[in-house]
């Protein structure tokens, strides 16, 4: 266990935000979910007790009928926000005094640093390059991510959950978010920051980042593994496998969407266009972990090799 190495990675000024992410994201996820579940319970109670629903005030717990149903923003909200602003300012002060800007040596066009890393917020994209060809990982998927974020309000017309934390009413949306952002995006950033060392090799935390390290790792295309030489057979094989995934994923996602009566209700309300759009983005999103598994566990480089793109 190379503690020195671990400390170097965690304490590099550049990596401090990521180190903080490690703690902050689980905490706020838990915190948000806790509130959502409390609200769920309250909703249940209020639905059962219409009298209470009329008088119940803004908070889940505790409750006293004589308390005001609503309170003014000023001063009750603003004073808390003011306090928060002060605390954040203190944190920023301390941070900027203690940690200097992570300047490195002047760029040398004849020498690429190793490992050569994007800024932390792009490390997820960089990590995707391991699994897809540059055209997919560098152009298609990032564009789809942005477009996907843009279409969310057009797909998700569920008015419930606006302005308050809730779980039951937005299960699908919450899980999609947890899966897409926290599991895929954040964890890829963390992998890119802390796990990927020289040569973009996989180093477990505490392993020494050795520039001389050599590993035996041969990645092959699917058809090569199956021993297929013929270009056309390989092409159709890859296409077939990809189609198989698409169909399988579509069915799986459909099953998920129609799993509960509540989500079925929402599904019924969606237009065909909305449904198809959602399917496309979800299938694409799912393809990332699938490809990661194929690549990391089965050493498959590409499933489908075409002259224009590789998947």
């Amino acid at each position: 266990m190379d503690w020195h190495q671990l400390w170097t990675i965690l304490a590099t000024p550049d990596n401090v935000p990521i180190t903080l992410l490690l703690f902050v994201i689980p905490f706020y996820t838990w915190y948000g979910l806790r509130q959502s579940l409390a609200n769920d319970r309250l909703i249940e109670k209020l639905e059962a007790d219409p009298a209470l629903a009329k008088t119940h005030h803004r908070k889940t717990q505790p409750y006293r009928p004589e308390w005001a149903r609503e309170v003014h923003v000023w001063p009750y909200l603003l004073r808390i926000e003011f306090l928060a602003a002060i605390i954040v300012t203190i944190i920023l002060f301390v941070w900027s005094i203690v940690l200097n800007a992570p300047l490195e040596e002047p760029a040398n066009p004849t020498l690429t640093m190793n490992p050569s890393k994007a800024p932390w917020y792009f490390l997820g994209l960089q990590e995707m390059l391991v699994y897809f060809d540059p055209w997919m990982a560098g152009v298609v998927l990032p564009s789809l991510i942005i477009v996907g974020l843009m279409v969310i309000p057009y797909i998700d017309e569920n008015p419930l959950g606006n302005g308050y934390y809730v779980y039951k009413q937005r299960k699908f949306a919450i899980w999609t978010f947890i899966f897409g952002f926290i599991i895929l995006w954040v964890s890829m950033i963390i992998i890119g920051t802390m796990i990927r060392g020289p040569g973009w090799m996989w180093f477990w935390p505490g392993q020494t980042w050795d520039h001389n390290r050599l590993i035996f790792e041969v990645n092959r295309d699917l058809h090569e593994i199956l021993g297929i030489r013929n270009r056309w057979v390989a092409f159709f094989l890859g296409g077939g496998a990809t189609t198989l995934y698409l169909v399988g994923a579509a069915i799986g996602i459909h099953k998920l969407i129609t799993l509960t009566p509540f989500s079925k209700k929402i599904y019924k309300r969606m237009s065909l266009l909305q449904y198809v759009t959602m399917q496309i983005f979800l299938i694409t999103m799912l393809s990332l972990p699938v490809k990661m598994v194929l690549r990391l566990l089965f050493r498959i480089k590409y499933v489908w090799v075409t002259p224009w793109f590789n998947i």
Partner: protein, 1036 residues
Amino acid sequence: MSDPNNPIPEQDPVVHSSLSKPLYISAALLVLCTVWALYDEVYAMRPWKSYQSRFAALYSEYLKKITPVEEADETKVKASGEYKRMEQQMADLRAKLGPKMSEMEREINQVLTPKIIDLNNAYQVLRSEISALTYQIEVASSDSSKNSLRADIEEIKKRMESVSLPEPDGALKKYEYSYAKMEEDLAKWRERKTQLLDRLAETRKPIMELDEKMSRFVADRGPELSGSVLRGLRAKLDNWDISIRQIHVRDVDLVDRCESCHLGIREPVTITAADMNGERAFTSHPRKELLKIHDPERFGCSPCHNGNGIATSSVTKGHGRHKYWLWPLYYPENVQAGCQHCHVKEIVTEFATALNEGRELFRRRGCIGCHRYEAYDRDWEELVATGQTIRNLEQQRADYQREIGVSTRRADVAKENSEAQRLYQHADNLRIRISGIDSRIEQLDLRTSDLWKEVKKVGPNLKDVRLKLRKEWVPVWIKDPHAWRPGAKMPTFRLTEEEVRAISAFIWQSGVNGPLAKHPQGNAERGKEALETRGCLACHSIGEGSQQEGGDFAANLSRMGEKINYDYMVRWIDNPRQRTLPYDPHEKRDLTEEDYKKAGVPFVFDNEHTVSPVNGRQLLVQNMTTMPHMRLSIEEARDIATYLMTRKRASFSFPPAGFMDDPKLKDRGRFLVRHYGCAACHEIAGLEDEQRIGTELTKEGSKPLERLDFALLTHDAYKEGWYNHKGFFENKLKNPAVFDKGKEKTDPLERLKMPNFNLEKKEVDALTTFLLGSVESPLPPRYHYNPPGQKQDIIEGWWLVRKYNCMGCHQLLIGQETVFMKMKRYEDPDWKEQRPPSLIGEGARVNPGWLKEFLENPALSESNKDRNGVRTYLKARMPTFYFSDGELRKLVLFFEALSNQAQPFIPSRLDPITEQERLLARALFTSEGAPCLKCHATGDPAHDARATAPNFVTAGQRLKPGWTKRWLLDPAMMIPGTAMPSGLFAREGDRWVFAGPLPAGFQNYRKDHADLLVRYMFSFTPDELARMRSSARSGN
């Protein structure tokens, strides 16, 4: 809902709970953070502020301490009789001139100046009014308005102004002035004032002169700094301003703030750390003379010292001792690396002793054999380039030849007459071009022959092994040269037993067989004496351990007898340049007697016979060794060889080496010899054109650290703090195999090839310094030391001086020690005279034409070469180096440039000497009072046996008259400790007069005596020498 552990409060927490406590705490924290930020901003990030206040305190304390001491010195000087006399003189002068001066000063200051000022004010008012009107005239459109304006001006000029002017007694008096009158008076008074000022200065002159004399008197005899300077420094400290001290050189974007902490660097006082309470940051620059050459305002600090000149936030950052700063401050042992940044073309840089040592080691230990370094080994590169050019020219010549044929044939069948004429003309033009090419080839051929004289190898010629060496010794040596001879130039390679055998076998079998004369034994006793006195030890050393004596330029000769063949040794001592067979670089083989016989030419090859009988090209006719031809008699060579044969250990034995004749090993051996780059230093048959096997090191110091292969030691280096260039170089030089540590290399050929030189710490530091300084300098080229003219000659010359180890015998730099100065025998007063002459000021001393002749043939005689040309009395021999023409030129220019002599040399004309003067001079030379002939040789063998100075016959051609006169007057000034006495002449009026008893006839001689002797010497002839000798004899 009602949780017993969490009872519902009575009051609404949102409305009723108070936030004042958290608000108070966070507000307090915020204030604290603000204070912290301010402290950080003002103080913590600006450590130089505390440095400055500390410096001001310590320095003013130190100045206070030294001021009385220095002032006491000054008072002492001022108390001296001479100073008192000058003070008296000053008082007299002041008394005499004072009234006159104050009268003039009174008139200037009290009468003229106030009047001029007041009148001038009035005059300026009028003048500006007129100027404004004049401008209006110039821009006015109509003639009538112009005319009316002119009239206005006239009006003004006529106007009478009343002006109050001060009288000498201070009262004001009114005057009526017109414009013209004002001009007139002003001019008059001003002229009067100028006159007075001139006269005043004239009157004051003697006082000023005396004053200057007095302060010079104090400065010459008193302390380093006068009291007034010290007081000035202290006053500066009283108004100390804490601020960034910055050097900004705009055109190179250089910002150095080093002096914000290192405040004492440029102080005129010499400050040591001890003076400043042990704070090393505050010392003054230890080499002030370097700052004089490199003005910090122009050069800054970091271009030499490295470090981050802009950073002021911490010592680590300022010094650039930081992972990401590419140019960390040099450590003291490598500080001279900074010189190499700009002094890239030099091998000797003044003041940079450690760097010079590193550069010299790089050359002498053979680093250059494997690693290219720009500026080194230029002769080889030029040789290769010249060969290439010759081949290109020949190709071009052949092309032209063909084109001539084509042109002529086409002309023969041309239909048009004009077309035929054009083609014939073209062919003729090409013929002229061919003749041009021929002359170029001829020049290049000459240069090639020159270059073949210049190229040298670090190690000996291995073609001669069969003639030269004891066979069994070869594998022992190859296995570990340092075990057999500590300090050997040849490094220890990492070889397996099998490799040693193969290499030995190849070397042995590739050796040539040639004629080698047999020699009878000589006298070892005499040989020892010769070896120790002829100058061999200027380069070679002999004796082991504490017994070792001599130079380290060439091999230690202690165990010669164990390895060498006697006959070869004799030939080598007789003339080391003598090759067994000449090498033909075109045929790529050594020519044998057969080749000469076939061509019908006698089998002779030497510096006069350099043409190949096979192809008419230049041959390599001498061994590529720097060892010169000592011009000893063959008997003496035998004596020395016989002595060397006795140098061996009492019992020595070598294991039998029958395998060396095994032809099966030869191919493997050749492969290994190429693999390990042996041909870099040795001449080996068949491998004459081998390329360098190592990496180029010209810019090694700025190679990205990532490209230096620390291999498995990367992490250790990082943790132990030597993951930097310095660490890499030092460890690599200490143990070149170090970066193989832990590596799994099954094949020995995969291992790092660099051999171990067993360098000492000092040598490692010197080489590290050299390599650290070998950088791609960020400074623009004009900062590089690339001087024009004579300074360039000096740079070039040092390369030769180092190449041939001139400094082993001669002193060339002030303060430099030669090997002779360090040898026990030469410490004896009798033997001091036997040291080779110092060459400081040689360029001013000798005639460059003569110097060229002398360097070419130091015997200065065609018939008898077994002698020194000038100092015949010296046992140490100035050898023949067989310099090429280019080298001769460079050396002569070097000596001339070192002494700032104008080029080309034009001898100054001397007044011809009359017969009467000749008699006088001869009389003086041979008189009892003048000791000239006691030491100077006269050509009389009996006398010359005791002579310790050169013969005068050569003086005329050899010396420069100006120098000779200066030498006569004060030789100790040029060469302290010389046997030539000083004070032979005394100043008498405007001439020098011989200080001893004068021979008869001098009473009426009114001219300069030193001049007379110089003119006499420069008109010296052998006849005159004989006359002088006989008159000396009769005189004695």
